[in-house]
Symmetry: C2
Subunit: 201 residues, 2 copies
């Protein structure tokens, strides 16, 4: 293979190309056959890389798919900031709905979550690599809203995130459909009311 | 076997005894070995019933364990009604925390939820036999609170239930520990504030 500059590709570039091919192959196979039928062998064959290469970077297929989902979630979604926290949280929760429902990422994310229940290492990775960094962006956006007076300074941000994300995971856990946009709007409005209304003593 | 009245046990009584022995054996094996290692064979052996008897009543081990958990949840928990809806919801959510954490029922319920992600029939059964009837009791209690003026007449009860249950299923899905009683109290207080505070137009 000849690169555009005419020189041979660098090892780093070759390695990045193998990495991307592996992530794409894993997502495709998961969408086509379901998480349970994905194997490292099949990923390697479709990506045109060796199994050894895959195992050098990832311990399990769950770890491959987690990286694939994480990259898509991060690259496809700049965290929204329109200046209206309610609107931005609706957009953000809508993206989580899309992650569950997506034909590309949904089977992978739902498969990862089924594996998390049996695999502590993957559970830690999902929290550390995907969920906690995303939640950090929610906190950052919410702190901005606090500075602008859209949320009270003492609002319980971790609880707010649990109340926003929780209903989606509840529905997922019980095999129920995700909420529609109108329902997401009502959910966000309720959580915002909970944060904004004064505590009864 | 001789019953206290001296007559032979009726088929109905024998059958009820086998049913109970099966449910107890299933819960014990799940707590001892984990959901993944429970088999119908092992349940039958411990309960002293035939595999055929078990398959006559239940299609899968998940269905056996669902019946076992449902009976314990129903029998162990009269729905609370102290007259204070906030207190009663705290108690109710505390019971759901206990279901996840219990050494007897926790492994069974968490195992059932892992199976639900792969088994639509079990997903329907969990909703129809356990979750929906429990939620109906929450609605009933909340409607009582509406009549007593503790909740507004137009409160969105289904959303309230999702906001209360959601954080527990979110934590479960990501392998995180259940909330402690103080956190449950804060959660209930927030949901109640969301329901009670007026909508901004």
């Amino acid at each position: 293979m000849i690169t555009s500059s005419g020189s041979a590709p660098s090892p780093r570039r070759r390695s990045e190309k193998s990495r991307r091919a592996t992530l794409t192959a894993a997502l495709e196979l998961c969408a086509e056959n379901g998480y349970g039928k994905v194997t490292i062998e099949a990923i390697a064959a479709r990506a045109g890389v060796s199994k050894k290469t895959i195992y050098r970077w990832w311990p399990t297929k769950g770890a491959v798919l987690l990286d694939a989902v994480t990259e898509l979630v991060v690259s496809h979604s700049e965290f929204p900031d329109t200046g209206d926290i309610d609107v931005d949280l609706r957009t953000h929760i809508g993206m989580l709905v899309n992650l569950f429902n997506s034909t590309v990422m949904g089977p992978a994310y739902r498969g990862i979550l089924s594996q998390v229940l049996h695999d502590e290492q993957l559970a830690r990775a999902v929290n550390d690599e995907l969920v906690i960094p995303r939640v950090a962006l929610v906190y950052e956006r919410m702190r901005g809203a606090q500075e602008q007076g859209q949320l009270p300074p003492d609002a319980d941000l971790p609880l707010a995130v649990e109340m926003l994300y929780g209903p989606l995971y509840y529905r997922h856990a019980l095999g129920r459909p995700m909420p529609d946009p109108e329902h997401v709007e009502t959910l966000v409005a309720h959580v915002m009311r909970a944060l904004r209304s004064p505590e009864r003593s």
